[in-house]
Amino acid sequence: MSQEPVIEVRGLKKRFRREMIKSDYTTWKSLLLKPFSRRRARDYVTVLNGVDFAVGAGRTLAIIGQNGSGKSTLLKILAGIYKPDEGEVQVRGRVASLIELGAGFHPEFTGRENIFLNGTILGLSKKEIGQRLEHIIAFSGLGEYIDAPVRTYSSGMYVRLGFSVAVNVDPDVLLVDEVLAVGDEAFAHKCEDKINQFRASGKTICLVTHDMGAVEKYANEVVWLDGGQVAAAGEARQVIDAYRQKVAVEEDAIRREETRLEKAERLQAQRWGDGDVVIEDVRLLDGAGAEKAVFNHGEALTVELDYRLARPTEDLVFGVALVNAGQVVCWGSNTHIDRAELGPAPPAGTVRCRLDRLDLLQGTYFLDVAAHAKDGRAYDYLKRALSFAVRSSLGDEGVFRPPHEWGLSGRGEG
């Protein structure tokens, strides 16, 4: 199966007119007033800027990327709905696109009538639809609802019917845009089966999705689009990892910005104590000492807090706790419990608590910090002082992942 590729894209460029301001619309009026105004380069947004890739017969390609990276535009070009501005695009064979499910459905028509309508739109003849009708209805699982007007359908039923027609077109190339995650669980399994069936029968699939689980499950190859260009392409595992890393970095920046905005408020929100010691700032740092809000599982983490003594204080204890979204304290300790030898505290200073390994599982967590006396009397207690996220590519369940290993040995009989 190593002849010419089924999908071939070379030097593809696509740009759109920028239409953000009302005056950018062409109207008869604007046409009369300035009929010869030339479009300037900055009136365009380049959505795809030199994209190359090829997909061989029977392969499954996933296109990933953040919102606005050009994925859907690319898929529409593959489907022939948009024309490329530059470059070449070739798709060999009958194409079915699951870009829009239930195109042309009339709400007043029954499901059965709409199967014929939608099927015709997707390029099936009446005879072909007739032959597949039973199959389509069975696959949709709509039962007696098939003869009810589509307007009475739930959104899930609507999409199920649309999907059932689309996958029965029997294409050589299937273009899928973010539709696998529809319907209830039973239907999701059916879709999964159908996709696997497509793969097994040597069809070429090109899917756009944000669901990395689906990408890992289906894709032989992945193209990662970033800002209209191919940021990485190739074997699924590697591209996904690179993509995740990039997303984590950006997510971190956003979260930090949010944290910065919320911090001032937060420092007041859930706070109590007599004020003999004031915690002025709290930071989360990574192993390299950079401030961060998204950590990878297993990474080093340092909690830093700046304090000031309002009054000279004896037996001062600093504490930190990590709390998960379910309000469970995952870990909490203080300088007293840990018998930390810090020496006398200067009137103003910074306390650090370094965790060599963050063994928490993926999720959102909160940080509590406190300065209190040995007898528990609070000087300054900050609940939920910061929030942070932990990312993990492992599938563990629970709260944390202790270092562990598995073994297996036989038991002697008798």
Partner: protein, 267 residues
């Protein structure tokens, strides 16, 4: 070279329509059946609407205005039905692509199907209202003559003309949404400039040439002739209109084909 390319455009345009005739039929059915689906009287409205319209016009012009013309209501009705076909095709056709929604932006099929469907649906509606016209004629003692056979060629010329104009309007409305609003007002003016509610003899002699310059008028006169007056229509004028209509259709196809690749992006 250029000549063959131009021909290829036209050939492709019609070949695509022909290849998708099942789709045209299905969407026309959707248009016709969908319009009244869910209403109590359903498809009956297709017949009821022209009947009620007839009653309104008959009341205004025969009873209130007391127009002095024998069987005026029949006269008016023979002109009104083709006008409805004409104006509805243009109004709905102008929005055919721009209101096409996901059919334009998310599915791939030749876009000329959409305006063609609007013209088709309105023509079928026109055909379905003819039995009411015939019944009304018989009721009033207006005979249906052999000249009614001229309906077929006249309607054909009419369709050519309407389809060409619809294609241009549908294209224009994608890029300039004002088109349809302007069209609505133009059609009102056009309606009264066309001898539908009045016979040609009411137009002062020195202005008659203006009527002949109005394509809608030529159609209206033709339908009056073949249904109401029981005579053959002016074939010479219709021949000219056919030629003009074909030229317009070809120009329309060039325009439509040139702009259609931008449709999905502009909607």
């Amino acid at each position: 070279m250029a000549g063959t390319r131009q021909r290829n455009i036209f050939a492709r345009f019609f070949a695509e329509l022909l290849r998708h005739q099942a789709l045209v039929a299905a969407l026309t059915g959707r248009e016709l059946k969908g319009r009244y689906r869910g209403s109590v009287l359903g498809f009956l409205w297709t017949f009821l609407n022209p009947l009620l319209l007839l009653s309104v016009y008959a009341l205004v012009f025969s009873v209130y205005f007391r127009v002095q013309m024998e069987n005026y209501a029949v006269f008016m009705f023979t002109g009104l039905l083709p006008w409805i076909f004409f104006s509805s095709s243009l109004m709905e056709g102008a929005g055919a692509v721009s209101d096409g929604g996901s059919l334009v932006t998310k599915v791939l099929f030749p876009q000329q199907v959409l305006p063609a469907v609007k013209v088709m649906a309105n023509f079928v509606n026109y055909l379905l209202s003819l039995p009411i016209l015939f019944g009304f004629m018989l009721l009033n003692g207006v005979p249906i003559t052999v000249h009614a056979l001229a309906f077929l060629p006249v309607a054909l010329v009419h369709i050519v003309f309407v389809f060409g104009l619809t294609l241009i309007l549908a294209t224009a409305n994608v890029f300039m949404r004002d088109t349809r609003h302007i069209l609505g007002n133009v059609l009102t003016l056009w309606f009264f400039l066309t001898p539908i509610l009045y016979p040609l003899t009411q137009v002062p002699g020195q202005y008659r040439f203006l009527v002949y310059l109005n394509p809608a008028a030529v159609f209206s006169l033709a339908y009056h002739d073949l249904f109401f007056w029981g005579r053959w229509p002016r074939w010479d004028l219709l021949g000219l209109l056919l030629a003009a209509g074909l030229v317009m259709l070809l120009v329309a196809i060039v325009i439509f084909e040139h702009y259609k690749e931008y449709f999905a992006e502009k909607i």
